[in-house]
Symmetry: C2
Subunit: 675 residues, 2 copies
């Protein structure tokens, strides 16, 4: 069908959609950088969605019961910015659109969560949006089950491209959504048959409809440039039947650009002045000034932006008639405030921990802490990537979230570390829950893409990473993290917590669950560890990042031993030998380098004085320790690191610690050679 | 069907399969650790495969034209070890089986490549095996196209479990294999309906047959405990029709264990003495001594191990009649020897590089180097995860590998970073090619799982990682690596190379392509950079890891500026200012920290003398620089780092460098404050 016919089929729709296309073309041209093709291709679908289906109120972007809209194909950011601008989101001014991709603007190259209201999540790394949306849909189901459809009753809409559907993470998300029967999740697939390298068939011939159907999805199709057909498909999609929905929207990338449409030339670079002029002409768009939108079109779009005002007010009135208690709890939950009794409960667990108790793995200690917190904190939403019994993440009263039990607060995510991480991002972004999820620390590798987005967006998701060193033993080097603590510590805005016993584990959970803008990685041991914190001070000492766990005799250390997690036991044993030999030795426990770095220089110097021998012990690589070993100190100090230099091996844990020389004997020997 | 009926259906088969099960049960019991359920469940399928279908010769494990067998469900390692032992692989003695999961044994918890002949690849992290196998099948097609079916004519067989099929990477591998019509790839799915957390339905209800069919695979089924039915299915699977094949083998985990079969209790822990005794009884196995296999069964298995002797000798006679030249080239290729003219060609590129030439991105310089090398090195096998034009990885004469063109040496991997990395591991493991593949450095995150296996296995795969800093500009923080150089440098046995101009880029390629047991990560700029190596010495200075690029006036530096890649230009500019101010300033280029660390202490002290101010400049985080800033030096030195402290932003690159203070001015200021 030619452009002319399209234009005349529904002139009102045509004008609305053209406005999006004009803004996208012009913004990319002005920035001399960006992706015009996708917004131009999906403008019709997005127009019908916002005009007739999406529940939202541009004047109240954070209204809790809005539909969530996720642009998974984040390179098409101008589609989202144009929609936000045209429907009247206050922050998204024409000035911001004109400053697309410029320093300090809210209109970044890819949509960045936190830059502007209406951006529900950061997208750009392909596949993340659709996978995050699964978490949003999970949270919607769970909140509706808990608080009722009067307070929570909305859908999650996603626009995804071929790239999103090719990425592995999409498989995990699609499988999870299908299994959980997330009937209010609707994915609109920009089926334009183009990737950066050329036709999709260069790299993929998957029948996507059959693929989604195989995972338990309902699949629909529409002509992505026919407003009536799009409306029919979206109407059908919104009729819930317990299956998530894929709508294949057949589109043309760069729709209307005479020389670049339907080719990768329209994908990722400006069209150029001539092509833009020709495209304007084809659209029947008579306004040649860039960014100019005629008043009548602006008006029509603003009316669309106000569609949700009435339902929002009705929702507010339902909130207003709640009992004070219910309203307060609902308000607390959707504002993600920390639980008022968190600190008290953690203090209780600390008090109950005895130095006399048998050795206890910190993963088990973590379960003990969760057993105390989860009954209290209805917002805690747990899960594991098929390692429930190993990660110790399930406490009995949670119940398992499933299509049959929407009040369950624990998810069997399946063997899907990446999908789990992205879903947790979505659960937090939706609001109402604090997600945590478990796997082995080494499988950070599988979840990295989404873990980085937790950090970039500042979402306090908790990663429960057990089996955190060679201490896991026989499973061998594929399962033994060596570089992963360094990786987590290298990632900006990520708290890496490696507690040494139940007291520190409780403190670590307190820190993680009171965070509001930083994710936590909890590194926990498989093997049993002694209780080392002999005084259960009310103060959360782990919050200092590092602190004196055992003081040197006389308070004047000649040697400072630093260690984390399972290696603190080794430091304490080495200290005993050294002290017996007359060497005043201090042990510093370092549950979190990030928190220690944030302390005052004075405190750091107090804990790690100059002119001592310093030895760090951690069953991992040395890289993150250099600053503690070498930095901020007097000149005569000498230092050593006792840890791993390469990959691990398969053997019982004690044999491995001996083999790799991570023992109290090795530490004392190194100290003696340095003294 | 009960055990009794199974036993009597085919007593010869039953005895062979029972021997596998006995060894698996007994080894896990002796180790008090491991996974008996999977080997017991898949013993029948594996027995039929090795007895009737797999082309191999236990006396010549590295015979090039053998079928490849990949145990993707690596936790079932005892299945593989039992098969290798029973068929007579010399290294896999009964002593090794008895030492399962013990220090120094070749029978690690998961199969480790290099530990024993017959282990084709390291598996354990789920999904890696099936994805690596795709690379093996690609290499087989390409070698057959190049050298003919007389020399290369074999299949790739995979055993995969539910975990492998749930992982995202499997989606990428399945899509790639379907698109490439790898008709000789056959995946045997251990369809036992059990994961660690319980029934598969807890987390997944995907119709796997429909899913694989949607991706262009042929799908077959069999009763995984009926030898005749398995044989029928494998025979059918081996009839090539251009589609890869999935065979769903319906099995029972822990088959025959009266109280633990068909449950997750059989998955990951020893069965216990009583259960083992009862299982032996059910099998009709009268030998109660652990690990005892009757001589007649040993004999039958050895005959199976010798099945391939004749075909192997026939193959050898075909090799022997080749012309000397053809035979030499074939031998060179399958032994993965470096190309004899590599050094000469690199030297030529270096000579052709002029300091007068316009600025050139190192990704473009990399293309120039490949343009010189690829016509020469028929073993170079390139590709990109749908960023061909951005990664500059395709040179014209390579041709695109596809079902229609098996002599192409370039793959459009699609938007599948993880699948690409695993496929590259498989291509190298198969033999005949040196794979390299491109994506953006930040998408290291997506490929980490397979990149770690490159390092662990010691495979010299080359990762061409362009857009290696905020220098990529407008795409913003999701696309700007900040922690990824630290991640690569933290990973054992990984060479991170960040060249500063075309000369260093050529040297980096020489290093990467002459490696035989270490993968390389090539970090390349998007933005143009000047030629800085003004003397084109024949010596590959990058091999030293760090070297003096600009000497301080008088040869006595007061200041040493260290930098990599795109920031070396900044160091050189800062030096000019400082020298003009009378401060003798040296610039050290650091293309590879790993290589510098491997230098002698003397050389390192020569390059980085004590008692100077040291400033490092890199548009990334500080963590990997600490040892160079703080270590191995005199006491009076002072140091600073000019780089990134958090995530990047969306803006043109020059604006970002200014915004984040990574400029020559910032460097000179820091130096002045330290002097």
């Amino acid at each position: 069908m030619d452009i002319e016919t399209r234009r005349n089929a529904d002139p009102d729709h045509w004008k609305l959609a053209s406005a999006i296309r004009i803004l996208a073309m012009d913004a990319v041209e002005a920035a001399n950088s960006g992706h015009p093709g996708m917004p131009m291709g999906m403008a019709d679908v997005a127009t019908v969605l916002f005009r007739k289906h999406l529940k939202f109120d541009a004047s109240a972007p954070n209204w809790f019961d809005r539909d969530r809209f996720v642009l998974s194909a984040g390179h098409g950011s101008m589609l989202l910015y144009a929609l936000l601008h045209l429907t009247g989101y206050k922050q998204m001014t024409i000035g911001q659109i004109k400053n697309f991709r410029q320093l300090g603007s809210i209109t970044a190259g890819h949509p960045e969560y936190g830059h502007a209201e209406g951006i529900e999540t950061t997208t750009g790394p392909l596949g993340q949006g659709i996978s995050t949306a699964v978490g949003m849909a999970i949270a919607e189901e769970a909140m509706r089950a808990e608080f009722g459809a009067d307070l929570c009753d909305h859908r999650t809409w996603v626009i995804a491209g071929d790239g999103c559907l090719m990425e592995g993470i999409s498989h995990e998300a699609v499988g999870l959504a299908g299994n959980q029967q997330l009937g209010r999740l609707i994915v609109l697939w920009d089926n334009n048959d183009i990737t950066i390298d050329g036709r999709v068939s260069l790299s993929d011939k998957t029948d996507q409809m059959a693929r989604f159907a195989a995972a338990g999805w309902r699949v629909l199709e529409c002509d992505g440039h026919d407003a009536a057909d799009i409306d029919r498909a979206l109407t059908e999609a919104a009729k819930e039947d317990g299956r998530p929905v894929l709508v294949s929207c057949k589109t043309i990338i760069g729709f209307g650009a005479p020389n670049k449409a339907d080719s990768s030339k329209a994908h990722g670079s400006p069209l150029g002045a001539d092509e833009i002029a020709a495209t304007r002409k084809g659209y029947g768009w008579n306004h040649t000034t860039p960014f100019e939108i005629p008043e009548d079109i602006v008006q029509s779009w603003h009316e669309i932006g106000a569609r949700g005002e009435t339902p929002r007010k009705e929702w507010q009135s339902r909130v207003d008639v709640l009992s004070a208690d219910s309203r307060d709890e609902f308000a607390r939950r959707i504002s993600n405030d920390a639980h008022p009794e968190l600190a008290k409960t953690v203090a209780m667990v600390k008090q109950q921990t005895s130095e006399e108790q048998p050795k206890l793995a910190t993963r088990k200690a973590s379960e003990n802490v969760l057993a105390a917190l989860n009954p209290l904190m209805a917002e805690n939403f747990g899960g594991s990537a098929d390692l429930t019994g190993s990660n110790n993440t399930l406490t009995p009263e949670m119940g398992v979230f499933s299509p049959e039990n929407r009040t369950g607060r624990y998810i069997h995510y399946g063997i899907r570390e990446h999908g789990m991480a992205a879903a947790m991002n979505g659960i937090w972004l939706h609001g109402g829950f604090r997600p945590y999820g478990g796997t082995f620390l080494t499988f950070t590798d599988y979840a990295r893409g989404a873990m980085r987005l937790s950090a970039l967006m500042g979402l306090p998701v908790v990663y429960v990473m057990t089996h955190d060193s060679i201490g896991l033993g026989e499973d061998g080097p594929t399962h033994q993290p060596v570089e992963h603590l360094a990786i987590c510590r290298a990632t900006p805005n990520t708290l890496t917590l490696r507690p040494c016993d139940q007291v520190e584990t409780a403190e670590a959970w307190e820190i993680a669950l009171s965070e509001n803008d930083t994710p936590s990685v909890m590194a926990l041991s498989r093997q049993g560890l002694p209780t080392l914190r002999t005084s259960h001070s009310d103060e959360n000492l782990s919050r200092r990042g590092a602190y004196i766990l055992r003081e040197a005799s006389g308070g004047k250390p000649a040697v400072v031993l630093m260690a984390t997690g399972s290696e603190v036991e080794i430091a304490v044993a080495a200290r005993e030998t050294l002290e017996a030999e007359g060497t005043p030795t201090r042990v510093v426990s370092v549950p979190s380098m990030e928190l220690f770095r944030a302390q005052s220089r004075e405190y750091r110097a107090e804990v790690l004085p100059g002119n001592t021998v310093r030895v760090a012990i951690e069953a991992a690589i040395r890289q993150p320790w250099e600053w503690l070993l070498l930095g901020e100190r007097g000149n005569e100090a000498k230092s050593a690191f006792v840890g791993m230099e390469g990959f691990g091996a398969s053997a019982p844990a004690p044999a491995l610690y001996k083999e790799f020389g991570i023992t109290a004997e090795a530490v004392t020997e190194r100290v003696r050679s340095l003294l």
